[in-house]
Symmetry: C2
Subunit: 115 residues, 2 copies
Amino acid sequence: MTEDKYQQVTQLFHLFSQSARLQILDELRRDEACVCHLQTVLGRPQAYVSQQLRVLREAGVVANRKDGQLVYYRLNDPKIAQLLEIVLGQVGARTHPPDCPCPRCNCCDSNVLRE
Amino acid sequence: MTEDKYQQVTQLFHLFSQSARLQILDELRRDEACVCHLQTVLGRPQAYVSQQLRVLREAGVVANRKDGQLVYYRLNDPKIAQLLEIVLGQVGARTHPPDCPCPRCNCCDSNVLRE
DNA sequence: ATCATATATGCAGCATTATGCATATTATGC
DNA sequence: GCATAATATGCATAATGCTGCATATATGAT
């Protein structure tokens, strides 16, 4: 029983032990985000991002919802944000890459507003 | 710079992602402990425990001090205990295995006192 | 000096995982 | 229906890490 507890926790930590996944989680604690946004932020191939999202999803760490063509991911457990705050500090502003094709990065001419 | 931050954190989480190391850290947040105590608690070969301790030590997560033949390890950063509390809950009583040869498990006839 | 105990280190085989690539699925617009 | 865009999945291989074993060092006792 105690051993199972450790097993469970190590699996959780394992998810955090790779920078792509950690970066995804860090981004998600700011706000939910669609795959194409995460793809832009990470600067990695779509397939790769999607694969990491699957890992996180199957572990129950993130959840997703579909909106038209887009799939939005979000953190699924407040503990995750808690852990991230300890190691990464307070959450900052949402990342707004200039070349991101996603609606949230393009609404309200937000790109123009970026310095 | 931001990338380096993630790198650093993933390395930390990686340390937590294996049950032997996690168990060591969990044990250490109760109190400092000598290698032979950890060895008994984990039920693993001495060489193995020693190796994991080295990994933790080189990462700066634990520190050690020598007392005669024994080497005592302790947590080196309060953040570690903080993280563990989130995922493992409040720290419990120190583990006192009946067959542990270490002085702290044998002082004051503490073994007899165990039910 | 010799022996026993506690701890540390180096190395190698095995298992696990990461990463990239090709392709499948699903939704939208025409 | 077809084309396109967003996302997901499967697979192969390269990389990484676990784990056990043999051995080294250091301390204390006789």
